[in-house]
């Protein structure tokens, strides 16, 4: 049994601090890699070349250049904006993102993740909901109709898809018999096949809900350019915009990583021992597949209508995930 409680001793705090710092530093790195992947992939899907010149070959330094550009830009705050709320909103979004990263298991040892909590998956779902507040704050404080409507849409959407997201994980929790992230991965390693095979309904619902939580296409109504300019990020510029920008990509990573942990067996892969340095690479490879699918979907599917979005969540995903839970529970007892 692990918890946040036995926090005595300097070593504990030092270790935790280093791990947190690594997790925090990972956010921009992940954001850049995924952002670059998105640029290149979307370009190729549209028969374009994409970033080409920056950094010499393949435009690999494009995102770094963009980052520098964003940081240099003037930080504009609208005159009518509610300044403290406006300023804190991106930070809160970023906080939710970073807090997610700390429970992703990359390796079975205690250095493989920041903390293995007894209620790990529950923690992940809880902190991922914190960004919602940030989005609402950003939408409200911008003193802009578009931002406001974007914020409202985001809130409605995030609340609606929070439920299937949580419910979809319950099947896995029932099957694994634990909420600890390491425990879930170990359960899959022990039975030598991922939960994807039995919880495919859960995986589908989880990924759909995750897309909606990320407000990515086809669920990007809150920032729909053609309707709302840029929704709740309309008024943001400079490094505050960078925060939103990075948070989206980092969130893609962490959502995919959670899906990998829950459904795809985490660092487990047939034939490869789990305690080697290959483990993080396996996780990254699996995350890469899911991220690729997300990017692919974004450049393939058109946007939903607002009412279709709510219908999908309340009338389809939630009932199906509840049925999934019931079936899993019954099978768990019977089999």
């Amino acid at each position: 049994m692990t918890g946040l409680v036995p926090m005595t001793g300097l070593v504990f705090w030092a270790e935790l601090g280093i791990k947190m710092a690594v997790a925090a530093a990972a956010v921009p790195a992940i954001g850049m890699v995924i952002g670059y992947a998105e640029m290149k992939l979307s370009a190729h899907m549209q028969s374009r070349v994409g970033p080409y010149f920056a950094g010499g070959r393949y435009g690999w330094a494009q995102l770094i250049a963009d980052g520098v550009k964003f940081i240099q830009k003037e930080d504009i705050i609208p005159a009518e904006a509610d300044r403290p709320v406006f300023k804190w909103a991106p930070a809160l979004v970023m906080l939710g993102t970073m807090a997610l990263l700390v429970v992703i298991p990359l390796h079975p040892s205690r250095y493989g993740m920041v903390r293995d909590l007894d209620v790990g998956i529950f923690y992940a779902l809880a902190v991922s909901s914190v960004s919602t507040i940030g989005v609402l704050m950003a939408g409200w404080s911008s003193a802009n109709k578009y931002s406001m409507i974007g914020g409202l849409r985001a809130a409605g959407q995030l609340i609606a898809y929070e439920l299937p997201l949580v419910l979809a994980t319950v099947g896995v929790v029932i099957q694994a018999g634990t909420m600890s992230m390491q425990g879930i991965v170990q359960a899959q390693v022990a039975q030598s096949w991922p939960f994807m095979l039995t919880q495919f309904v859960g995986l589908a619902i989880f990924m759909t809900a995750a897309l909606a939580e990320l407000t990515r296409l086809p669920f990007d109504m809150p920032i729909a350019e053609s309707e709302l300019v840029m929704g709740y990020v309309t008024e943001y510029s400079g490094f505050r915009f960078l925060f939103f920008f990075l948070a989206e990509f980092a969130n893609m990573f962490s959502m995919s990583a959670i899906a990998v942990t829950l459904f795809l067996g985490g660092y487990g892969f047939w034939g490869i021992p789990t305690d080697t340095l290959l483990s993080p690479l396996i996780v990254f490879a699996k995350v890469g597949i899911l991220v690729f699918i997300m990017i692919w979907l974004r450049w393939t599917l058109p946007r939903f209508r607002e009412d279709q979005l709510q219908t999908l969540a309340w009338k389809w995903l939630i009932p199906i995930s509840i049925v999934n839970i019931i079936v899993t529970a019954v099978l768990k007892v019977v089999v």
Partner: protein, 188 residues
């Protein structure tokens, strides 16, 4: 235990680091001139209380608090505020003239409660001693068993209340359409 003894314990610094901002935020919840700010200060208060729960080794409750309150209830609040009215800037009349009697009443409650705490503290054994349960996080399996074994009926009752609240909320908040609008909605 003297105050300096108490302060020598590092975990109490953590407590203070949570409790003081929490109190300040709570004061701002009830005095802030801006509804949205009040709601956001409530977020702070609740986040701090989640931290306190972790100190008290009630980890599961802490994350339930975060998930349900910060993730859903406050969002619902902000949603409600923005739908009803969302003026940016301060409102002059958030508190009404009855604030002095209200302050008096709340002070009376505070006084009575504090007096009760001091009165009881002498009579219960170990009241002033360190909390025994702190240090080991409560296993969530215990809570789960509690819910479906001993507290099954309250659990079901709460489920029923949630259902009733769901239906009630929908019924209250939905707009009654005129026949023409209904026709319109059906056609879409």
């Amino acid at each position: 235990m003297t105050f300096s003894d108490w302060l020598a314990e590092p975990v109490n610094w953590a407590f203070l680091a949570l409790a003081l901002p929490m109190t300040v935020a709570a004061v701002r919840v009830v005095t802030s001139r801006n509804v949205v700010h009040a709601a956001l200060f409530l977020v702070l208060t609740l986040a701090a209380s989640a931290g306190l729960f972790i100190l008290l080794s009630a980890e599961f409750v802490a994350w339930v608090l975060v998930l349900v309150y910060i993730g859903a209830v406050i969002v619902l609040f902000l949603f409600g505020i923005m739908i009803t009215r969302a003026p940016i800037g301060r409102e002059t009349d958030l508190s009404h003239a009855g604030r002095w009697p209200a302050a008096l009443a709340s002070l009376a409650v505070l006084a009575l409660t504090l007096w009760l705490i001091t009165a009881v503290s002498g009579q219960v054994e170990g009241f002033d001693g360190p909390l025994p349960a702190v240090g080991v996080a409560t296993d969530s399996a215990i809570l789960g068993e509690g819910f479906i074994m001993r507290y099954l009926i309250p659990f079901e009752a709460v489920g029923f209340i949630l259902l009733a609240a769901l239906i009630g909320g929908i019924t209250l908040a939905r707009k009654d359409l005129t026949p023409a609008e209904e026709e319109e909605a059906e056609r879409v």
